[in-house]
Symmetry: C2
Subunit: 352 residues, 2 copies
Amino acid sequence: MSIAEEEQQRQRHPTCSKSSTFSAESYFATQPPPSTLEQDVERVREFIARQQKEGRRVVLVTSGGTTVPLELNVVRFLDNFSAGTRGATSAEYFLKAGYAVIFMHRQFSLQPFSRHYSHSTNPFLDFLEIHNGNGLPEITVASDKRRDLLEVLTAYQSVQQAGVMLTLTFVTVNDYLWLLRALSHEMSILGREAMYYLAAAVSDFFLPRQKMSQHKIQSGKGSLSIEMDQVPKILKPMVDEWTKDGFIVSFKLETDLGLLLPKSRAALERYGHQVVIGNDLHRRKFEVVFVSPKPTKPNGSATGDCCGPQFEESWLRIDMASPNPAGHVKEIEEDIVGELVRRHNQWIGINP
Amino acid sequence: MSIAEEEQQRQRHPTCSKSSTFSAESYFATQPPPSTLEQDVERVREFIARQQKEGRRVVLVTSGGTTVPLELNVVRFLDNFSAGTRGATSAEYFLKAGYAVIFMHRQFSLQPFSRHYSHSTNPFLDFLEIHNGNGLPEITVASDKRRDLLEVLTAYQSVQQAGVMLTLTFVTVNDYLWLLRALSHEMSILGREAMYYLAAAVSDFFLPRQKMSQHKIQSGKGSLSIEMDQVPKILKPMVDEWTKDGFIVSFKLETDLGLLLPKSRAALERYGHQVVIGNDLHRRKFEVVFVSPKPTKPNGSATGDCCGPQFEESWLRIDMASPNPAGHVKEIEEDIVGELVRRHNQWIGINP
């Protein structure tokens, strides 16, 4: 069905609008792009060209939740839980592993490096000291905080100097979808050297612009009722069209452990990408599962027998009780990134 | 109608659940308190006792948006727009004016002092310098950033030393409602010396715990439909019962300028508190309107004639184009707080 036909059908059957589903194509044909899109794409293009020239692989890390505005003049919105810890932490380890990072995150979600100094849990104002003397007083970092900060600051400064991280922000699910499509196009020139690490918590639902209320929804008229449409499954066109050779890692977050593997496998089957990382909301800091297609034999058939499973799983767990030699608790993202770099090597064709 | 009767009626007419409205009483009888409530109240009680002993007035500043979780294992929630700028900025000016501040804010929203160094717009890692020498390198603040930071840091450190700010956090609208009720009770012993500056953006709707989904709502089943109930209007019991003598300031945010005055007046009429500050979403940084009841004559009648308006309005505007002598752009919260302190003086019975 063409976009025009889909649109017509929606208009002809307004009572069917409940279950209208947008294809990726009709989504982008009917929902407006964010105003900053072109400018962002320009920055990405320059960044990628430079990284390519300097021989670096590039990973796109998406991070944080997306919002679904309920009003055009936004006051209320639907949101997804995500502080952005997974994305911000992983980005640091990708940088450490020599990747250039495009960090595409929800405004105000955690960012690499500064994440260690949350205003709530470790406010930086608490470890600054004023030293009065002649002229303008000096401000220094208290000695007991200096060692940890030095490590973070040194890494941060070297990333800034080398110009290997580009930060982009989104707020709504619409911003996210437009940005992801544009960036996939730009990164596709890197072929197999491009990795996509899609850690953002993206809404499954959205409210088409055409259905939004102009002003703040007024209370005092009883209860609030919202009908939302499904967000198109854009991993499909991403894999099939936008970036055919990219190494794509998506995430599946569930609260019901029993659904984790079935839903991760279903996603792989549906979209045909490289890895789904499944995680349970309450165990995600110390346990994840990598689900991927079974490797094919040289003749193209799966290594399993004809009727065996098409997918393989491997669990990754860390021991949170024992700190490493530097006194820090290990972060599971260190091992997730290590494993992905290994698999990306294979994907590119470099044997370990 | 008693709570039991209200509850019975809801159960008897499940099809009427759409328009079920909770009274404040039935809300607190059916929705569970946050697990940290008692501990928070304990801290508040000690704080207030100390401020009272030291002869300080106390203002409760609420700030940031509230969430409405859609699932018991929360992944998705409805949110209200608010970075918490109004509350965090105003808290600084209340402290400057000699008030002790209970800063009750949405987790991760802006906070007094640290608000000047947002990780996105003014990241503090950018102005730290490493100085290598003998032993552990020193970290200092770059000289071009030092003057501004000194001002903020000096104020922050003196507030910490004097112990005149207590910070509490909330996330959901349920956390907010329980905390507000408990704090109003605690602060009521201050009588007219207590001010309430209710700048948080509180949801008008909520999903009763009894209607929540246990696990993440699954997509793939068509559109999402949510029916929410109205949050009880708790300003009413706050004024009438919880803190009869407190000086209460509420906010009205609208996107349609034409609704601002009518809705502000309606709020005053309904709840009978002292001031509504009306602000338009797009003009709130440089223009607000104070709406308050007309002062009564000594004999108790309003100063207006019998049929004139019961309320008076005064607009407060600042000129954002001209920076003050220190080179900073003026913040409207400075004047809002100045005006409120003047009115609070009158309320307490101190003539200017």
